[in-house]
């Protein structure tokens, strides 16, 4: 067990093992997502009240779930990096940022597009949309920190400082949600419940589950893929990295 944890301290090991893992996860992801998309778009029944626009749930909810999950993952990675001083955690955290931000963006976009046929407006200051909007800002701020801090101080210190912000952010997320829900309950009756469709029949939530799981797998694959190149760029002077780069450059020619 200790040896396995010790391995994570080796950039070379990570670089080698991340390839088969990302490929496996990508294969699983593509199967699940294609199934989920087809099922959700064409085969699942439409909602009685919302009609066909209900199908947007199959992209909106998975994006929102992943957006929140990935932020928590960045915080967890940051904590591990701070406590055990494993450099790979910062590489992985940086690899998550573009993907996590993409998911928040998609959640907001699809939420708005779902809102128009359902509520007659693209934007609604309800608890969920507002919280998601602030999640976007949390992501953007953290990403900016990961990019800008290394320019002003030693890289590892920079990444650790960014990790602390991620941790403060993750602790604040439930607080933000709670406060926004309270704020919202004052000003609006709770008529708009976007995804609270209780007792959805299996035909409706099964493709949703497929999409969520598929998206998790895809995220894993993409994060690993991205992390490999970030790592190689960081460590390019190391001898193992030089070997890998030689192989790559030869393949290109």
């Amino acid at each position: 067990m200790w040896r396995w944890i010790h391995k994570w301290g080796s950039p070379k090991w990570f670089f080698q093992i991340s390839l088969p893992w990302s490929q496996a996860l990508m294969a699983i992801a593509l199967v699940m997502l294609s199934l989920g998309l087809v099922w959700g778009l064409a085969l699942a029944p439409a909602d009685y009240q919302m009609g066909q626009s209900f199908r947007i749930i199959y992209v909106h909810v998975p994006s929102a779930i992943l957006a929140q999950s990935l932020y928590v993952w960045v915080a967890i990675l940051g904590a591990i990096g701070l406590i055990w001083n494993l450099k790979i955690t910062h590489v992985l955290a940086r690899a998550v940022m573009p993907l996590g931000t993409s998911f928040v963006f998609l959640a907001l976009l699809t939420g708005g597009l779902w809102g128009m046929p359902t509520w007659g407006t693209y934007w609604q200051w309800d608890a969920r949309m507002t919280s998601t909007l602030f999640l976007l800002f949390l992501y953007l701020g953290l990403w900016a920190l990961y990019v800008l801090l290394p320019t002003a101080m030693p890289k590892q210190s920079a990444y650790k400082a960014a990790s602390i912000l991620a941790l403060v952010g993750v602790v604040n997320i439930p607080i933000i949600k709670f406060s926004v829900e309270w704020w919202n309950s004052l000003h609006q009756p709770a008529t708009f419940r976007l995804t609270e469709a209780p007792a959805m029949p299996v035909a409706m939530w099964a493709p949703l589950l497929l999409m969520v799981l598929g998206l998790y797998a895809l995220s894993g694959a993409l994060i690993l893929k991205r992390a490999r190149w970030i790592l190689l760029a960081d460590e390019h002077k190391a001898s193992w990295a030089q070997d890998e780069l030689s192989t790559l450059l030869q393949e290109k020619n």
Binding site: L43, Q52, R55, I56, V59, H60, M116, R226
Partner: protein
Amino acid sequence: MPFLSWAEFWAMGGHALYVWLSFSAFVGVLALNMLSPSWLQAKLCRQERRRRIRARRQESSS
């Protein structure tokens, strides 16, 4: 089967714009994310190639 014809499928009960825009944005953004690591790889290779050429040049001139 909720759709009786292709035409109905594309029309999405009048919500075609919203549904198709959502799904295409979803696929599009994810596709970008799938391509992005390859761009990182290409950039890294380009930089490394230039570094090696520079190193060889310095070696041969010294």
